[in-house]
């Protein structure tokens, strides 16, 4: 099966490993990630103001590319996924925004939010199925206690993301279990790490990140698992004394291909 793939800027630079593992694991699961040609940065955050058109056009372009190929659009980075999904939702529901965006785009056929936007995790759950993921595990991560960290971007706003229960999510935990490890539930798993404010106000980000890592440690986790490069940065930077790992890396480990990826 082929899907369109939007890696995003961070996966091409600071988070190359997140990207590499994602591609290899997809191969194993029989999914081809076809990188969109000439994609542009999504902008990192979705601007909710309805009159912001230009900043959302790169997303619309990517979405339309996927539409033309009749494929779902998959991303791994939480931020990209959030921006793509919110933009797509705006194209579906906000007529004025859609018509103005289409005016800029000058497409043969107007884009009205037809593309299905999937996070890599949703791809695993809804298209591949966690049972199929479990079948591919050669190196079950028995005995590892893993704390899933969702942050905010994956789940909220729920009316748009519709990924999981925003207050009590299970999608990453289900993946952890499929990989043979033990999922640790802890209170701060869907609280914000401090996000981009880290740049301006590192102390604020530190406080928030520490709350998350301490909460995971109190729940006796060995590893924190995340999908977002910025979450990983904030948690690690602010004194996490437990490893913070991308979920794709953990998959690669369980699939026994981690070394291939690093090569």
């Amino acid at each position: 099966m082929k899907v369109s793939y939007f890696p995003g800027c961070t996966l091409k630079t600071k988070a190359k490993d997140l990207d590499a593992y994602a591609r290899k694991c997809a191969e194993i699961l029989g999914i081809t990630l076809e990188e969109i040609e000439n994609w542009q940065c999504c902008g990192g955050v979705f601007t909710t103001a309805r009159d912001e058109i230009a900043t959302k056009l790169s997303s619309v372009r990517a979405l339309n590319d996927a539409k033309e190929k009749n494929q779902a659009l998959v991303s791994v980075c939480s931020a990209c996924h959030n921006v793509l999904k919110q933009t797509n939702y705006a194209m579906q529901t906000d007529e004025e925004f859609a018509s103005r965006a289409n005016n800029y785009m000058q497409l043969d056929e107007a884009y009205l939010g037809e593309t299905q936007v999937l996070h890599y995790l949703e791809l695993l759950r809804d298209v591949v199925g966690f049972d199929k993921v479990a079948e591919k595990v050669v190196n079950p991560l028995k005995g590892k206690k893993i704390a899933a960290y969702y942050g905010c971007l994956l789940l909220r706003p729920n009316s748009v993301m519709k990924m999981d229960d925003p207050e009590n999510p299970t999608i990453i935990e289900d993946l952890i279990r499929a990989l043979g490890a033990e999922a640790v539930i802890y209170p701060y798993r869907n609280e914000c790490c401090g996000g981009y404010v880290a740049l301006e106000n590192p102390d604020s980000a530190k406080e928030k990140s520490l709350k998350v890592t301490n909460s995971a440690k109190n729940a006796e986790a060995d590893i924190i698992l995340t999908a977002c490069p910025l979450c990983k940065y904030n948690l690690e930077k602010n004194g996490a004394d437990i490893p913070v790992v991308y979920f794709t890396e953990l998959m690669a480990e369980a699939f026994g291909i981690k070394e291939d990826c690093n090569a």
């Binding site: 990192g44 909710t48 912001e52 914000c192 880290a198 301006e200």
Partner: protein, 130 residues
């Protein structure tokens, strides 16, 4: 002056798509906000101050740049008010003014550390400048 404030208020309401009059003053948005301690004006105050037209103090407040856009308030508000969208609209009203960028590309190098992901830079620029 009154007219000016009214225009600004209408503009904020229009671009945010938020109706502050739906707020019932329960404070759930502020109860759940992770950036609460860094803010001088809290999410529920944004809603009521925009409603009453008391927008000037908001435009000049650092609180504008502390919102993490984590959408916790949007999801949890029992009245569907969506405070984060309102804060974003006020912030835009501030940074869209000439020379009012909260952060420019020139400010970045000194804040940079080598591990910081691109995503943080583009997000911050998008949020803080025009």
């Amino acid at each position: 002056m009154r007219k000016e404030i009214e225009n600004l208020q209408n503009e904020i309401i229009r671009i945010s798509g938020v109706n502050p009059r739906k707020c019932m003053r329960c404070g759930k948005c502020s109860g759940t906000c992770p950036a609460y301690d860094e803010m001088e004006y809290h999410p529920h105050q944004f809603v009521s101050m925009v409603e009453s037209g008391d927008i000037e103090p908001l435009l000049n407040s650092k609180s504008l740049y502390q919102c993490l856009t984590c959408f916790a308030c949007v999801d949890r508000c029992p009245r569907g008010v969506e405070p984060a969208k309102l804060i974003e609209a006020v912030r835009l009203a501030a940074v869209r003014k000439q020379g009012q960028n909260h952060m420019t590309a020139n400010d970045i190098p000194e804040k940079l550390d080598e591990d910081i992901p691109q995503q943080a830079l583009v997000s911050a620029l998008r949020k803080y400048s025009k």
